[in-house]
């Protein structure tokens, strides 16, 4: 209904013969682009639009302090880091072997990769004591054993969920230097315990459907005498 019935504009009206050289000359392109028609419509000159009025910037006071030497401004850096590339062998439901940290050697179920690049992982807690946890991909071996995670919803977990709670700053008093205050034990909020339960209930059902898988996940991985890790197929 609108008068504009133009199809999507091609990329360029000037086909490339060789990189840097188009088929048509400047005057031919002037004709092809129809600049003559635009000028004719506008009385012999190209149409000119007055610049939009800029909103008035607030009047800035002159600063009361100028630095003695010229201060160099750092260059603009708009680089945004992408999350680490996930190895092809690691897909949701893969059993991973943790290689470092408190839970080294534990076999654990992979849930998803968080926006920071870290892997979200769970024991499940009832089977081997590993809670919902973040783990770096470099400290993990991906096995080829997969668990069915279709019944688990992990949308609510992201990096903010695992952030440490900001502690209120205590003002230093002289007396406190010599007293060793017992720090209050950090209790896990009930919400996190419930999250663990909901995630694990679906997982445990899937795990128990496969024979021996539960004891497999409950056991730790270790190298035995004569075992060569570079020859092992995981």
């Amino acid at each position: 209904m609108a008068p504009k019935q133009r199809t999507a504009r091609k990329v360029s009206r000037n086909p490339e013969l060789i990189r840097g050289i188009g088929k048509y000359s400047r005057s031919q392109m002037y004709h092809k682009r129809g600049l003559w028609a635009i000028k004719a419509k506008n009385g012999g000159v190209l149409p000119r639009h007055d610049p939009k009025p800029k909103p008035q910037a607030p009047a800035q006071k002159s600063p009361k302090f100028y630095p003695a030497d010229d201060v160099k401004k750092p260059l603009v850096n708009k680089h945004k880091a992408k999350p680490t590339k996930l190895r092809a062998s690691i897909t949701p439901g893969t059993v991973l072997i943790l290689l470092a940290g408190r839970f080294k050697g534990k076999r654990v179920v992979f849930l998803k990769q968080l926006p920071s690049g870290l892997l979200l992982v769970t024991g499940p807690f009832k089977i081997n004591g590993v809670p919902l946890r973040r783990v770096n991909q470099s400290y993990v071996i991906g096995t080829s054993t997969k668990v069915d995670v279709s019944g688990v919803n992990v949308d609510k977990f992201d990096d903010k969920y695992f952030a440490k709670e900001a502690e209120k700053k205590k003002k230093k008093e002289e007396g406190e230097f010599f007293e060793s205050e017992k720090e209050e034990k950090k209790v896990l909020p009930q919400e996190k315990k419930d999250d663990q339960k909901t995630v694990d209930s679906a997982l445990i059902k899937a795990i128990e459907s496969v024979p021996d898988l539960k004891s497999y996940i409950g056991a730790r991985f270790s190298l035995k005498q004569g075992v060569k890790p570079h020859e092992l197929v995981f």
């Binding site: 059993v95 072997i97 096995t143 080829s144 054993t145 021996d212 898988l213 004891s215 497999y216 056991a219 991985f221 020859e231 092992l232 197929v233 995981f234």
Partner: protein
């Protein structure tokens, strides 16, 4: 101790070194003192040093340098594949291969089975000791 396995046209051999390691081939011709012309159903006919071959007990009835189709037919008539997989040498190779390709989970299950088997054996041994 006379020799029992000879290099002859039709002798089935196992390549034990190089790119074709582990492949069963048939000696189709002898080139010179050191090399044989060798062929298999899924391989381009090529020369191989005798030092890279381990002779097997199996033999196929072919003429010198047969066509591929004739070679395949002769191998099927001699039933090379089945005989090889049933022979103790062939079975050992298959076991080695499966063991090398065991998953971490498979190794765990294997360990459980070994423990069970050892427990049964120990029980029986205890019974025998008690009887004696």
């Amino acid at each position: 101790m006379p020799f029992k396995r000879f290099v002859e046209i039709g002798r089935v051999a196992l390549v034990n070194y190089g790119k074709e390691h582990g492949r069963l081939v048939v000696i189709v011709d002898v080139i010179d003192q050191n090399r044989a012309l060798v062929d298999a159903p899924d391989m381009v006919r090529s020369q191989v040093n005798f030092k890279r071959l381990s002779l097997t007990d199996l033999k196929v009835d072919i003429k010198r340098v047969p066509r591929k189709k004739e070679l395949i037919k002769a191998m099927e008539d001699a039933d090379v594949k089945n005989k090889w997989e049933k022979s103790s040498w062939g079975r050992k190779l298959i076991v080695k291969k499966t063991r090398a390709n065991l998953n971490d989970f498979d190794r765990f299950k294997l360990m459980l089975v070994k423990i069970k088997k050892a427990a049964v054996v120990r029980q029986e041994l205890a019974k025998l000791k008690k009887a004696a």
